[in-house]
């Protein structure tokens, strides 16, 4: 039997931890003085609650390089496409191509991606 360390019972916290760690690595690599802004894209089919994610970010950023960094949450459209002919499947419809009958594939809408960060870097004189 194994036991894991305690964390609040929402996976948004774990994802925010991953976010803060990645931002920390990037900031160090660029020798940044601070992080100004963090831009994350979360799609509607990501299985992530945007409010909870933002709450978790506010709760977890103190003491990190993102302490004063604004979180900007972007979104994207859910895009189901025919696996064969790439025709768009209308939202809410059966996930089968009306033209050729092939199953749909998800071309977009489940992203949980750190898109970019804005770092404060001291100018070299």
């Amino acid at each position: 039997m194994i036991e894991t360390t305690w964390e609040p019972p929402m996976h948004e916290y774990g994802l925010v931890q991953a976010l803060l760690e990645r931002v920390e690595r990037e900031a160090s690599a660029h020798e940044a003085a601070a992080v100004h802004r963090v831009i994350v894209r979360i799609g509607p089919l990501a299985g992530v609650d945007r409010e909870l994610f933002a709450d978790a970010y506010r709760m977890c950023r103190p003491g990190t390089r993102c302490e004063d960094a604004e979180l900007l949450l972007e979104t994207e459209e859910v895009d189901w496409r025919c696996r064969a002919c790439n025709a768009a499947i209308p939202a809410g419809a059966a996930l089968v191509c009306p033209t050729c009958g092939w199953p749909a594939r998800l071309a977009g809408g489940d992203a949980i991606v750190l898109e970019r960060i804005e770092l404060e870097v001291r100018p070299h004189v």
């Binding site: 039997m1 194994i2 036991e3 894991t4 360390t5 305690w6 964390e7 609040p8 019972p9 929402m10 996976h11 774990g14 994802l15 991953a18 976010l19 990645r22 990037e26 660029h30 940044a32 003085a33 601070a34 100004h36 994350v40 089919l45 990501a46 299985g47 992530v48 189901w80 696996r83 809410g92 419809a93 059966a94 996930l95 089968v96 199953p103 749909a104 594939r105 998800l106 489940d110 992203a111 949980i112 991606v113 750190l114 898109e115 970019r116 960060i117 804005e118 770092l119 404060e120 870097v121 001291r122 100018p123 004189v125």
Partner: protein, 233 residues
């Protein structure tokens, strides 16, 4: 203020990253997947609501495959090891993963469980995920297949309410069919709901209690292996 010219400005530098936050989880999942492949173990991620009948399904599977396949299981739950104990009693070599508060299993938990003890040879490893229709679906554990257990009492529109879970399902097992006589269950409505969230809808109806449908379920499992066993009838 900098010492040289008295300026106090810092530059704002945008850095493109484009990194998936689940990247680390997926790296560990890939390692787990390779672990299973090398040992010729078919790993099945079994998900579903609390009480959907995941453990009972695995108990019925153990009864059916006794003597022809070796089974192992990881049983994830917030508290207690009761599911792992039930599975062991049914003849499945099982280990519990008690997550405390985490609502899902992730690849690191599975990795730890795989390596913290020596496991007997197994044909199937069932990973019984935490009872939850929201989070478990997004965490790749290294499994070969995702199975979602959905009981006849949960409502035909469940798939529409939890599209993320059902879009990741390779198979939906409709459980507790022995209760159908006392329910107004609309199987056409369920099929319609699944078609809207699952690109390749596949459903097998079972009753762990009576054994109905278990043969079809086992046949599906065996189809996932390259060499099907001679299953005792």
């Amino acid at each position: 203020m900098c010492d040289a010219c008295g300026c106090g400005d810092t530059n704002l530098v945008p850095v493109e990253v484009h990194a998936r936050l689940l990247e680390r989880n997926d790296e560990v999942a890939a390692h787990n997947r390779e672990h299973f492949r090398r040992r010729d173990v078919v790993a099945i991620n079994v998900m579903g609501s609390p009480g959907a009948g995941k453990t009972a399904l695995l108990e019925a599977t153990a009864r059916r495959l006794r003597g022809s396949r070796q089974l192992a299981a990881l049983a994830g739950d917030l508290a207690t090891e009761r599911d792992a104990v039930r599975l062991r009693t049914a003849g499945i070599a099982s280990s519990a993963i008690t997550t405390g508060q985490a609502c899902h299993l992730d690849a690191a938990m599975v990795h730890h469980a795989l390596h913290e003890q020596s496991w007997p040879r197994a044909d199937y490893l069932f990973i019984e995920n935490v009872g939850n229709l929201v989070c478990p679906a997004i965490y790749d554990l290294g499994q070969e297949m995702n199975v979602v257990a959905l009981s006849v009492t949960e409502g035909e529109d469940k798939p529409l309410k939890y599209p993320v879970m059902f879009r990741h399902a390779d198979l939906v097992v409709l459980t507790k069919t022995d209760l159908l006589a006392v329910l107004d269950f609309d199987s056409a409505a369920l099929a319609d709901a699944l078609a809207r969230v699952m690109p390749r809808p596949r459903l097998i109806a079972v009753s762990a209690r009576t054994g109905d449908g278990i043969d079809a379920w086992v046949a599906w499992l065996e189809g996932r292996r390259s060499e099907p066993a001679a299953v005792a009838s």
